[in-house]
């Protein structure tokens, strides 16, 4: 096994970003966006592991109605820490800071991001924030729910809220700096010929994501700062006993945290928009609509936050406004789904692993997104707010959507990142396992929710047990599904087949340099002369057969 012969014609490049320099220092002080991406890959995986472990404990605990494993305090800490680790320290940084960091400069033909040192700084800030949060987890944990609602978090909770809040506050700046770097890079660092409408959709998606990062994150930072100060010094911004208003906290919190869900899903949509044309070997359907819908989601996404507050006693007029706008934000998402599906029409579709993840993504995001419409419906939200229906909704989008997109993207670009291919058969098995396990875990939760099981319950009436057991069974399959890629991807770094520049082949600029790329990305600054996702006029891809004998049927553009 250890002496896999390289594919004919493919050889690992002589010098690349991985072996250009050696030693711990050369990694910890690197300003190379590709190395920083790998640093992030390592650290977000740690948090995913922690979050996943906590999730597993949640599911085991819920096997029986009275709770199987832990005390109520501990259970509350489990889901809080699960939410905090997964959202702030895994999913928000995952695709942008790992894949985005690695790929954006490559995709636009730049040598690096605009501010390489700031890029490194943002990783360190992430680490500092993460350490605070881990410190909080280790010293008493955190039991406020990931939403930190006041006055529970600012007055009543006895757990280690302060370090956690400080940690998330600090981590916010990491996110801000990443977003800032991306925006500036995309504006000023594009290679000659790389016009806005030649940008890969992945870059468009990250542009939109970055908008949300820079416009939303500062608000959560200040909000948590205020809540933290209130906790430490009894200031009373959100404490009704002193005249403050707990609802104000929710407004400020969701002003960020709703748009933040688009920080999580937009990059995944970007990944899917790359995978689908590559494996269908045709231009993506409605490029400008997909690009535009990313921006539309980012902008409209800022107008809907109070749909998390329909039953807080929010004014009826405000509720109507926010519900209406929540339905508007579904339209650009619909545009994406329909365009992806149409791209498959008359394609030349392969069943490679990334494509399986892409299909999984569409299916699960569809269910997750559509159930968002249930929640956005005022009359229905009265019933399903804060039940397991909500839990199922967001896991469908975040795990079924965003995490699937992330794992799919990792597979897609793995050859570029490491220069080697993963074992295809194993990867397909893992993808299918994940899909099955996922649905078994979270579908029953929709039913639980409609039946009225509230979320964040360490114990529940016995009539809910059957569905909970199903869900726990699914979760164990899911855990296995995640274990597999972790193992074989690590394995393939050393022993995988050598990939060559462009194994799929795909059309993006990142595939026109070595795998792994050299430190400066391109030996000569490339010049872009082709349209995105164009397989027809790209002899360099080596696809000689061409399209099946059909007149090239252009749409109306």
């Amino acid at each position: 096994m250890s002496t896999t012969p390289p594919l004919p014609g493919h050889q690992m490049p002589h010098e690349d970003y991985l072996n250009a320099t050696y030693g711990i220092r050369s990694w910890l002080l690197t300003t190379d966006h590709k190395r920083i991406a790998l640093l992030y890959l390592g650290s977000v995986t740690v948090f995913f592991f922690i979050g996943g472990l906590l999730a597993t404990m949640i599911r085991i605990h819920l096997l029986t109605p009275t709770g199987y494993l832990v005390t109520p305090e501990t259970y509350n800490k489990l889901f809080t820490m699960h939410g905090v680790a997964m959202i702030f320290f895994f999913l928000i940084p995952s695709i942008p800071a790992v894949l985005g960091n690695f790929l954006i400069p490559l995709m636009i033909g730049a040598k690096d991001l605009a501010f390489p040192k700031i890029n490194l700084l943002s990783w360190y800030i992430y680490l500092v924030g993460g350490s605070f949060v881990l410190y909080s987890f280790a010293t008493g944990g955190l039991d406020t729910g990931w939403t930190f609602y006041t006055p529970l978090s600012s007055i009543y909770s006895n757990s280690a809220v302060t370090p956690a809040v400080i940690g998330i506050f600090i981590n916010g700046f990491s996110s801000i700096l990443t977003g800032l770097n991306f925006i500036v890079t995309i504006h000023t660092m594009r290679a000659p010929g790389m016009t806005w409408f030649r940008l890969p959709l992945f870059v468009w998606a990250h542009y939109a994501t970055s908008l949300v990062m820079i416009l939303g994150t500062p608000v959560i930072a200040i909000t948590l700062l205020l809540a933290g100060l209130e906790r430490m010094f009894h200031l009373g911004f959100f404490n009704p006993a002193l005249g403050g208003d707990p609802i104000l906290f929710q407004h400020l919190f969701w002003f960020y945290s709703h748009p933040a869900v688009y920080i999580m899903i937009l990059p995944a949509m970007g990944v899917i928009s790359e995978i689908i044309p590559t494996f269908a070997r045709k231009p993506i359907f409605g490029y400008s609509f997909i690009a535009g819908s990313s921006i539309a989601i980012a902008v409209i996404g800022f107008l809907v936050w109070a749909h998390h507050m329909f039953v807080t006693g929010e004014s009826v007029y405000a509720a109507l406004t926010f519900s209406f706008l929540s339905y508007l934000v579904a339209i650009p998402s619909a545009v994406k789904v329909f365009n992806w599906t149409s791209t498959l029409y008359k394609g030349s579709i392969s069943w490679d692993t990334p494509m399986i993840y892409a299909f999984g993504f569409i299916g699960l995001f569809l269910i997750g997104g559509l159930t968002g419409l249930f929640l956005a419906c005022l009359g229905l939200d009265i019933h399903i707010h804060d039940t397991y229906f909500v839990v199922a909704h967001f896991h469908y989008i975040m795990v079924g959507g965003a995490v699937m997109g992330y794992v799919g993207g990792l597979h897609f670009w793995w050859p570029k990142i490491t220069g080697r291919l993963y074992p295809e058969a194993l990867a397909r098995i893992a993808a299918v396992t994940l899909f099955v396990g996922f649905n078994l875990t979270f579908f029953p939760q929709f039913i639980l929710g409609y039946l009225g099981m509230p979320r964040r319950y360490h114990t529940y009436p016995p009539e809910f047990q059957v569905l909970n057991v199903l869900s726990t069974a699914g979760a164990s399959i899911l855990a296995l599904g995640y274990l597999l890629p972790m193992l074989y991807l690590t394995w393939s770094m050393r022993y995988g087949k050598v990939a060559g520049q462009n194994p799929w082949p795909a059309t993006g600029l990142e595939w026109k340099t070595d795998s792994p790329p050299p430190t400066e990305n391109f030996d000569v600054t490339p010049e872009v002369t082709w349209e995105p996702y164009d397989f027809q006029n790209r002899p360099d891809l080596g696809l000689t057969a061409g399209a099946p004998s059909l007149a090239p049927a252009h749409g109306d553009d």
């Binding site: 925006i183 500036v184 000023t188 100060l229 009894h234 009373g236 403050g244 400020l252």
Partner: protein, 252 residues
């Protein structure tokens, strides 16, 4: 990254580099707007709900110090703008015993001095609030000053304050808690602003060092320009803070 002169290796031209840096700073300022925005939101909601308490709190602030500080800060913005200009045109002047000095250094030093004056005045104001038990926390007492006047206090002023407080208590029995909210916001907002000034002062020091080393020329003055943007932004925040904090219900 390899550097050639002032050009970082991953840029093609100085112009691209400058554009990038300025855009970067502008985008950063956007995040700052929203960062302060959260505080302004909190301010708005609470002022709306407790206008009496906010008036009472605001009237305890010293308008001379606050107004004076406003002038100082705007003046520092002017000197900062002039620093950018002198860097752009590369102006040099004779300063007696110091000999030939670049004007950019002079203006940067002036800005730094003004900034320091501002912070100094802020310290004086904070000290007053401490003395008057107006710092949020257990000892907070909006009546403290009127009940414990010192020799230096003007008796007429104290009497007026007492009367105002009586009226306010009649309107809102929880005025102490609500005034504390005002002071939480006062310290939160001015404190965050002061923090930005301190960071700005650090950046100015760095610039001053660079300017004496002759780093800033008509060809390359991006750092001065970018720090200038930041400094002006901090000025703008104060332009809003001043009326919002110092000028509530002054006419009563």
């Amino acid at each position: 990254m390899h550097r050639t002169g002032e050009l970082y290796g991953h840029f093609e031209t100085l112009e691209q580099q400058k554009e990038t840096a300025t855009l970067g700073m502008w985008v950063f300022l956007v995040t700052e707007v929203l960062f302060f925005g959260g505080l302004f939101m909190t301010y708005t909601i609470n002022r709306h709900a407790f206008s009496t308490a906010f008036g009472v709190g605001s009237n305890t602030l010293d308008l001379t110090l606050g107004g004076g500080n406003t002038v100082v800060l705007i003046l520092s913005s002017l000197t900062m703008a002039m620093a950018v200009w002198s860097a752009q045109v590369g102006k040099v002047g004779w300063f007696g015993i110091f000999g030939k000095v670049r004007w950019v250094s002079i203006f940067l030093i002036a800005t730094l001095v003004l900034g320091t004056v501002f912070l100094g005045v802020k310290v004086v104001e904070y000290k007053q609030k401490f003395d008057h038990h107006l710092v949020p926390g257990r000892g907070f007492d909006i009546r403290y000053r009127s009940e414990h006047p010192t020799a230096s206090d003007n008796p007429k002023e104290i009497a007026a304050e007492k009367e105002e407080l009586e009226k306010a208590f009649a309107k809102d029995p929880d005025i102490n808690a609500h005034a504390q909210l005002y002071f939480s916001l006062y310290f939160g907002m001015t404190g965050l602003h002061a923090l930005h000034m301190i960071v700005g002062a650090g950046l100015l020091l760095w610039l001053i060092k660079g300017s004496f080393a002759g780093r800033f020329t008509p060809q390359y003055n991006t750092p001065v320009e970018v720090v200038g943007l930041y400094w002006h932004f901090v000025d703008i925040v104060w332009i809003y803070l001043f009326p919002l904090l110092y000028l509530i219900d002054r006419h009563q």
